[in-house]
Subunit: 706 residues, 2 copies
């Protein structure tokens, strides 16, 4: 505390000493306060506090341009305004029915004192749970086209916080989280997923916990026409500096912009308790309202799919066991079926039957289209055409069959990151989808990007993802993007952009060292701060050797079965996969009942208990129903989780069905032991959930009919 | 001669000394002979001779791969074959009706002696007028995907030849030619059009003349899925080495390939007289036959267009005089017309009227579509959408009007080199064309390429041009590409690819230092070796000040008016523009008669006299008619050109209409003086054409009805 006051004193003193600026400018809402000032060198800076506690110490703002005439400073303040906004809006779908958008805005108008005298605005929005700010380049005579070479936004931390971080890889978010002090950040020992670079570079959302009890999350909102922001960590001073993803030219150029324009919002969410972090709507609020007016075709849903059987080596994406295929030259009918191609008509019908029987709306089919024989790792442009089914996939018959069962097939477009190829074919691919009755697509971006030299998280690809959200919307198609840049709340603007992957999903449990039991307790505090994740929960057959003893030797999912159920609540997504095979579910239909019941769209959400890396308990009220669903998960430690049911409607009696870890359950030794119990409860009741190591519990609350 | 024999002796001696190879392998046709051998280091090499004269001295062959396991050598010969081919084919359109394809082929099978023992074939085709060879990568177990890092093809010249060259710019061919000895090649003093690089790098087709009287042209044929080849010149040894255009990654990677695959053909055309060079069909013969079966929709034609009036500053491409436009955000109807927008409905009708009256089939309109307000030099992705006309361009009315006059509008797609944007919109753009009755498109690639970091002449763009040729063909659209890579005979394979620019066209006379009078005498020996050029001849108003005294001060076309007519014959293209404004032609309708008469498709072509840089006289027989058209041009020197008319049908009397430079004509002092005379001639007649400095003459021969 003393340190912070000193810093603030020095900061404001410093600003006052210059002739260029008035005194510091401030904005505040509840406990959160923001201070803007020019430094003695004329460089703009800011600081954030939560009550009396420092959140971000005096930190630089600024941008360099390729033409050398950017906004590194010195700058002069030519004016400022504040305004207060308090409004409420309804998302098309989401965790809550109504979202309050309440902030005080401070706009600071800056000018270069020297020629060409360009103008820059910095706009801050101060919420009760944090601050968002962005750079705005107003229309002006001396700024039209410009290239951002670097952004100099700092987030100087007042202490050596505990951090939950993944390495800075411009092409992948699929890492396990490291928990360390900021001073210990070092990505060197971590195996690269794609192109991990500097040892001190980490990704956002970056979750931090201060020794004084503050929780702090740094990310961005509304990433549009700009590269993603990474953070370079100074392990000595605990300063974080923005690092934008460069383009392909090798010149270090980051963003090609045209005024008027603005950057994404840089976000700092802060609270003195962990559950409040997860309830924050700051990032969503900083995004633009929906661009779509007619949205009845957007349907949150659960789905099964021909997918996990490939991961567990029981089936293949490819049709023939050959390699070195050329898309245009191959007569697919002449190839020999390898006998275990997953996306064959009969197998897909099996999934359709299961979905129809169990109230699952969608069936994803991967590997339906030609090109999988040598699709990966060749940096090849013409891999898929997105419109040619394999000989054993009868798209017309499946359209008919699915419709007869009131099930929707979900399209899959793996691009192999050959994005130029995908863009050429997107129109035709979406026409094909509409022709065959598909209204949702899962896209994939595995591998190195084409245009070669571009990155998954660079401006060009960011624009691609956003264009794809718009283009799918134009075709009334819902989209779920895998291996795309991590979300920044754009599902408010494009509510057809249902989910993304952009983190290490459940699939890693199938074929790698897996995800540690703490993984799912960290994801909501990191990756999910930006938006829904298609984590693909619901794996019941925890030991994978039973699918393929040779190739899956020693592989298992790193949770208990009950925890897989809890994930449907703790990891929010309006698209939730029931990821396991029908035959796995058939053996445990009592447990599957929770998946069948659980909602995917909500009127309300309460975070009952949470600590990143340790545990999380969330309860949600189903959209338009008096049904509640609760998920509680723990890390590798067993845990007793008391629950007060005061969220339930007073006076109403509910049947609570509790899907808990069974006696002796343990994610390693006894992961599939579960126990289902039922009891009648009211808002005055309490439960105590016993979570096994790596375990969890799921509870459904349904009104008892009077 | 003595030198060469010595070299050959050393070469063969060297090869014999190794255990790796048999003696040299040879192929020959008429005077042209080819020798292949491995050097003492196991590196493959070749040499070419014309009779006893050396053409290419012992020169290395080879390729490096990014994986380090390429074909730099040593290699071993595992076999070879020869075969003889003599066939005749008919082009869809062209300079002659029948083309003989006569060659001896030598295929050399090579293998890496060390692991992985990859296989490489080098295939040589020896014609009577030169040699083509390429590298072929057969299907094999140890080679699937690979990246060509460098190609090590050498063309070692036996002497310090006279060379006609332009600088090696990966993004532009729009240079004037320098004539110098090979030892004097130095591009440093030449102002860059785009990104001129190494001082010793030149482009192909490279025209050379040896002191022993041999003419020699080095280029490539069938440039597909590979970057263009440039040549690095060793000014001491007179050795030329292939330089491929790199990709965007900055790693020096040149081509991403997948076996089986092959490189383009490297071509060496040789003859002992200049006219024979121009008659060579070697490059066309090395291209694949037409991919199109139904070709009746492909119509060689002349066209006028709303185009030159922009170059001479009488009209603008843009509609409004504003800058800093965003395509998606602009309400075009709300912009203020600048009053001189060329592509307005009334003005286009004027061109349609002129075309209809003068038997011109097409009317090109540039600047019809929104986006020209700030289209260039901003490296901006979303510039044009190719489907939105300016408010003053009534596309439906013009469709109706043109059809009523039996004239076709020609579409214009300037991409501003934002090729990703164009590719996204190509389908829609071609649908728009078909909807409004367009069946030909002129594309443009001005500026820096997007994907950023790629080059106009790199593999990615080469693939784009070829895809565009196919995609336009799929839509029955003829295409004329400007600022694309220089042609390599692919119009045989895609006969809808009517023409390209890819050189310094007539337009440079409007706004730069212009094209020197020798320019058009060099183009047929360089740029046009690869295919037709849309040079846009036919400028009658030579002094441009009359269009805009202020902005065109001192600007003029660097030829006489009569020479402009001759260019319709000397510069072959199945699409020929009558480039000047209707009002310029209206003043000289007697001269315009030649443009109205001249054919654009031919049964026969004879090069009557030629010397690169000096003069050229060509006569051609119109397709399916007994009409002949002759063009004769000179450089800055006046010249008397005697012509024997023995090409005419014996016994037939023809009216020859001679469009000659007038008395005192001179490209600088008196360019517009011309004289039209008529006389009756037969195959026994002779003419002497008097060409003014920078002048020319055009002659039509039409049968006199008996």
């Amino acid at each position: 505390m003393r340190n912070y006051l000193l810093v603030l004193l020095l900061l404001t003193a410093g600003y006052r000493a210059t002739a260029q600026a008035p005194g510091p400018l401030t904005a505040r809402l509840d406990k959160v306060s923001l201070t803007f000032a020019l430094g003695p060198d004329g460089r703009p800076g800011y600081a954030i506090a939560f009550g009396a506690k420092p959140v971000i110490k005096a930190s630089r703002l600024g941008l360099s341009f390729a033409d050398g005439k950017g906004f590194e400073g010195p700058l002069v303040v030519v004016g400022s305004e504040t305004k207060d906004v308090d409004e409420t809006w309804q998302p098309v779908w989401g965790e809550v029915k109504n979202i309050r958008n309440h902030y005080q805005q401070l706009t600071v108008h800056l000018r270069q004192p020297a020629a060409p005298g360009r103008l820059l605005d910095v706009v801050f929005r101060v919420f009760a749970d944090g601050v968002g700010f962005r750079y705005e380049f107003p229309a002006q005579p001396n700024l039209a086209y410009f290239t951002v070479q670097d952004e100099h936004t700092e987030f100087n931390l007042p202490g050596n916080h505990k951090a939950f971080w993944i390495p800075g890889d411009y092409d992948s978010n699929e890492y396990t989280y490291t928990t360390s002090r900021v001073s210990e950040v070092n990505t060197t020992p971590i195996e690269a997923i794609q192109l991990k670079a500097a040892p001190n570079r980490v990704q956002t959302p970056l979750m931090l916990k201060a020794d004084d009890g503050l929780y702090l999350n740094i990310h961005e909102a509304a990433l549009v026409n700009y590269p993603a922001m990474f953070l370079n960590v100074d392990t000595k001073s605990f300063g974080l500096t923005s690092q934008l993803v460069p383009d392909a030219t090798g010149t270090g150029a980051k963003a090609y912009l045209q005024a008027p324009e603005h950057t994404p919002w840089r976000t700092v969410v802060v609270s003195d308790n962990a559950p409040a972090m997860l309830a924050s709507k700051l990032i969503l609020n900083l995004n633009e309202p929906s661009k779509l007016t007619e949205t009845t075709w957007i349907q949150p849903q659960k789905f099964v799919g021909v997918w996990w059987e490939m991961h567990v080596n029981r089936a293949s994406w490819n049709y023939a066991d050959v390699s070195n295929i050329k898309l245009a030259d191959t007569d697919w009918k002449s190839l020999k079926d390898n006998g275990h191609h997953g996306a064959n008509t009969a197998n897909v019908k099996r999934y359709i039957d299961f979905a129809a029987k169990h109230n699952i709306q969608g069936v994803l089919v991967e590997g339906w289209n030609v090109g999988w024989e040598d699709w990966a790792n060749n940096w090849k442009e013409e891999v898929f055409d997105f419109v040619t089914p394999y000989p054993d996939f009868d798209v017309s018959e499946l359209q008919r069959y699915a419709a007869s069962k009131n099930v929707k097939l979900i399209m899959h477009h793996e691009t192999s990151s050959s994005v130029t190829n995908y863009e050429r074919r997107q129109d035709a691919a979406y026409r094909f989808m509409k022709q065959y009755g598909y209204d949702a697509v899962k896209t994939g971006y595995v591998g190195r990007i084409i245009p070669r030299g571009e990155h998954h998280d660079g401006q060009w690809m960011v624009n691609h993802y956003n264009r794809t959200a718009q283009l799918t919307a134009d075709n009334k198609i819902m989209v779920d993007m895998h291996e795309a840049v991590r979300p920044t709340g754009l599902h408010r603007t494009y509510p057809n952009w249902m989910a993304s992957e952009a983190a290490r999903g459940n699939e890693f449990n199938a074929w790698s060292s897996g995800n540690p039991p703490e993984h799912e307790t960290i994801l909501p505090f990191t990756r999910l701060m930006g938006g829904p994740m298609d984590y693909t929960p619901g794996i019941f057959q925890i030991q994978l050797e039973s699918w393929n003893p040779t190739r899956n030797q020693g592989k298992q999912v790193h949770t208990t079965l009950a925890k897989q159920l809890a994930l449907y609540v703790t990891l929010y997504s309006p698209l939730q996969m029931a990821a396991d095979l029908p035959e796995a579910y058939e053996k445990h239909l009592d447990a599957f009942q929770f998946i069948e019941d659980v909602a995917v769209d909500w009127d309300d959400t309460r975070i009952l208990a949470a600590e990143p890396g340790d545990h999380l308990t969330t309860v949600r009220k189903a959209k338009g129903k008096d049904e509640w669903y609760l998920g509680s998960i723990t890390d590798e430690n067993a845990r007793k989780q008391p629950i007060k049911l005061n969220f339930l409607t007073p006076g109403q009696r509910y049947e609570a069905t509790i899907y808990a870890d069974g006696t002796g359950a343990d994610w390693q030794k006894n992961p599939m032991a579960y126990r289902i119990t039922r009891q009648v409860v009211t808002s005055k009741s309490a439960l105590t959930l016993q979570l096994a190591p790596g375990g969890g519990a799921a509870v459904s609350f349904k009104p008892v009919k009077k």
